[in-house]
């Protein structure tokens, strides 16, 4: 933790994350207005004393909508990433441990899947399953799995050849012990770093899907969806799209910077001497 204090970008990331966390946990409590409440007399106003971020085309308070939408947006990111990391790590560790032709076969499969860009992959799956938050999360999780598998596998391979693992094998320890006690605890570092950074991608993907109408559905106040709904009116009140846009950026940036800082801290070789 002390190390984090000395890492300037890490501190920025942690601060942003703290802000986001407050919004997720307490958003609905501290929002000044009901996010669905129309205020017809005050449609498409810019920031004012009553509405700090202005109002949208129905007169709904933008700030409240953003605070409410934090949960939808961030939980999407966390959930999808968690699922993708779990599945990917399982596969990657299995490949790294099994070795030989199983490993090669899995790698070829992963290479193929990785040839499809994330968004495209997600769109395909969502189209087949239908829209909605749940399906979108599943789609993102599936799209992340090959990438995470690769990272996990690389981490396993680099640990597997270290001498303390070989010492355990030479002792005649069971494979379960070797993997569980010697290999896995030492591979979590790179996996956690990658996972943290991927949350930022998941948030952006979720927002994109929401924007395209394939993710969160109304009346959700997911930030991407907010932008989609306000598109027609963006010239009359840019705050309708700018505010959720900045919110997305803040959240994604927070995870991104924090993940980078984690990487520097956990891997001494990466640090500037």
């Amino acid at each position: 933790m002390r190390e984090l204090a000395r890492h300037p970008t890490g501190l920025v990331g942690a601060t942003l994350l703290a802000i986001v966390l407050v919004a997720v946990l307490f958003g609905p409590l501290i929002a000044p207005y009901d996010p669905q409440q129309f205020h017809p007399a005050e449609r498409l106003r810019g920031p004012s004393a009553e509405h700090w971020l202005g109002t949208d085309q129905f007169g709904r308070d933008i700030l409240s909508r953003i605070l409410h939408g934090a949960r939808a947006t961030i939980m999407f990111g966390l959930g999808a990433t968690f699922a993708g990391v779990a599945a990917g790590t399982l596969i990657g560790v299995a490949a790294g441990v099994a070795g030989r032709w199983i490993d090669s076969a899995i790698m070829r499969l992963l290479d193929g899947l990785l040839a499809v860009p994330d968004l495209l992959f997600t769109l395909l799956i969502v189209t087949v399953l239908g829209g909605g938050t749940g399906h979108a999360m599943l789609a993102v999780a599936v799209a992340f799995t090959p990438g995470m598998a690769r990272i996990a596998r690389a981490a396993v391979l680099s640990v597997r050849t270290r001498e303390f693992v070989q010492a355990a094998q030479a002792r005649g320890e069971s494979p379960v012990y070797v993997i569980g006690a010697e290999v896995l605890p030492n591979t979590m570092g790179p996996v956690i770093v990658e996972a943290t950074i991927r949350v930022s991608f998941a948030i952006m993907l979720g927002a994109t899907l929401g924007f395209l109408g394939l993710g969160a559905q109304p009346p959700s106040t997911e930030w991407g969806l907010m932008i989609a709904e306000a598109r027609q009116f963006m010239f009359r009140n840019p705050w309708c799209v700018a505010a959720p846009g900045v919110a997305i950026a803040v959240a994604a940036l927070g995870f991104n910077l924090f993940g980078d800082a984690l990487r520097d801290i956990l891997d001494p070789r990466g640090r500037q001497r």
């Binding site: 030989r100 270290r162 001498e163 303390f164 070989q166 355990a168 030479a170 002792r171 320890e173 006690a181």
Partner: protein, 545 residues
């Protein structure tokens, strides 16, 4: 002007500190030495002594957090600290050269070797490109490269370690500098090549009269080529003087300790003969180890082995209580054998331990694995960073059922720690809280925890400082004597192996070329490769402490 006053390089009362997150760290304290024309000063120190910092200070290439204290650095009487950046750039390469440790990393992998020599000539001697290439070729020839024209057109990865280092040396000598700094120039090379490089340097120095600062941790190497020696410890010069005096009659305690720690064949650590009447414990017959997986395709097609052979047809036997030293260069197969015996590599042939015989890795069972334990070279990698010492040591106890229950295990762990001369509180520590030597002791304790009959030591001292090496070697010998275990000691250090082995095996490119009792090392019937090795190894100047 007397000879003594014509110093080429002088460092006078120089101090240096680094600003770190934990506060200023003193790297050099009032360092003082001088080198005259045609003389070599060997600067000897262990890791952390500050010896490399001197090189950076002289070349004016200090990192941003360096804070220079008082003192002067003079090149032929000129104060280097007073030079501007442009002047320093003019001096580098032309008046001062430098040769680094690892030619693989100090040569640009994407440029031809010829270009890397030529650019110095173009920059400092104003030659045209064509002239520079021609001159470069001549320089390479002078350093003993067989086909210089061809070498000029090669890339670094197409040349061997020795060839690359010759290129680096040629570059350093290219502009006839007044002084050259050598920072561990032969550490990354094998013994035979290292010897050749050193001989080359001595010859070139005689020809050109260059003053040389030779930085190294290896006293034996330094003793061979240095006229004067300075011993540095924790940033301060402990002792300095002519080489003969330093090695013959050292005055300071640290110097004496350092010299005593250097392996010397005459200073035996064990008796010359293993216990009498001992039975054979370990036997190898036609043992062969191959690397590399055969791809599915070649397996299906039944193609002949496309694999690399790590060790070929090895056969020897070791008696109970004996210490067999296995020596050879990297790639000789010595580690391969150890790992095969430890059950990490698959092998074909026959392996016998006691009265049990095995014909492949799959046949090795837990009883065997308990009886044959291995200690690795790199102390940083041989302990699980996420486990405390207590867990690390208790693992073999639990696995082999040697101790049960928390109380008994803790007691045994305590015993093990005291056997390797570590305080019992270390059980609570994590590996990153231990020094290299301490980690290696834990690794040794872990091996002996299993109460093995055979202990395989794979270069266990090679990654440690000189002073620590000696204590680890001694520890091993003590434990071996106490437990009666048989020991296979793999190393590239011939002097060390002559100190502690009963029998010596010599490996070359996967073959066992020689096997002899240690006393017969100088006998006339030794294999020619053994002779080459023995001739290449420097023997420390210095009487037994």
């Amino acid at each position: 002007m007397s000879d003594a006053a014509a110093s080429v390089l002088e460092v006078r009362d120089y101090s240096l500190a680094y600003r770190t997150g934990d506060g200023p760290v003193q790297a050099l304290s009032r360092v003082d030495f001088s080198i005259a024309r045609g003389r070599t000063l060997g600067l000897v120190g262990e890791s952390g002594s500050g010896k490399s910092s001197i090189a950076w200070a002289i070349l004016r290439y200090l990192p941003a957090n360096a804070v220079e204290g008082g003192g002067r650095i003079l090149l032929s009487g000129e104060d280097l600290r007073a030079k501007t950046r442009q002047q320093v750039a003019d001096i580098r390469g032309r008046r001062i050269g430098i040769v680094f440790q690892d030619p693989s990393t100090s040569l640009n992998p994407t440029l031809m070797l010829g270009r890397q020599i030529a650019e110095v000539l173009i920059r400092h001697r104003g030659l045209t490109e064509k002239q520079a290439f021609a001159e470069g070729e001549a320089l390479l020839a002078r350093t003993g490269i067989a086909r210089p024209a061809e070498m000029m057109r090669r890339y670094p990865h197409q040349a061997s370690g020795g060839e690359k280092q010759r290129v680096v040396i040629a570059t350093a000598f290219a502009c006839n500098p007044e002084c050259i700094v050598f920072d561990e120039p032969t550490t990354a090379l094998d013994i035979v090549t290292a010897r050749q490089i050193q001989d080359l340097f001595v010859r070139l120095q005689e020809d050109t009269g260059v003053a040389a600062l030779y930085i190294s941790h290896d006293l034996a190497l330094v003793s061979r080529i240095a006229h004067d020696v300075a011993v540095i410890h924790r940033g301060a010069i402990v002792e300095s003087g002519p080489a003969a005096r330093i090695f013959g009659a050292p005055r300071e305690g640290y110097t004496r300790m350092l010299i005593a720690a250097v392996p010397h064949p005459d200073r035996r650590l064990v008796d010359s003969h293993p216990p009498d009447g001992a039975q054979r414990l370990l036997g190898l017959e036609a043992l062969t180890v191959r690397y590399g997986e055969r791809s599915l395709l070649s397996r299906m097609l039944g193609r002949a082995q496309e694999q690399v052979v790590g060790a070929r047809d090895i056969g020897f036997s070791v008696r109970k209580g004996e210490i067999l030293g296995i020596v050879g260069e990297s790639g000789s197969g010595k580690s391969t054998i150890a790992r095969a015996i430890a059950g990490l590599n698959d092998f074909s042939g026959r392996l016998t331990l006691g009265d049990r015989s095995f014909s492949g890795r799959g046949a090795l069972d837990r009883a065997y694995r308990r009886a044959a334990q291995i200690v690795f070279q790199n102390p940083d990698a041989s302990l699980n960073p996420r486990q405390r010492v207590r867990e690390i040591l208790s693992r073999p106890l639990k696995l082999y059922g040697i101790a049960r229950g928390r109380a008994e295990i803790d007691r045994r762990v305590g015993e093990l720690l005291s056997q390797v001369l570590l305080p019992p509180e270390f059980a609570r520590r994590y590996p990153h809280q231990l020094s290299g030597g301490e980690k290696q002791r834990v690794a040794i304790a872990r091996a002996f925890a299993a109460e093995p009959r055979l202990v395989l030591c794979d270069e266990i001292t090679s990654s440690l400082d000189v002073s620590v090496q000696a204590s680890i070697a001694r520890l091993l010998v003590d434990l071996q004597a106490r437990t009666g275990a048989t020991c296979l000691f793999i190393t590239h250090d011939l002097n060390l192996v002559r100190q502690l082995a009963h029998t010596i095996a010599v490996m070359y490119r996967g073959d066992l070329v020689d096997l002899f009792p240690v006393g017969a090392a100088d006998a006339p019937d030794r294999h020619p490769y053994t002779r080459t090795l023995l001739d290449a190894v420097p023997v420390a100047v210095g009487s037994a402490a």
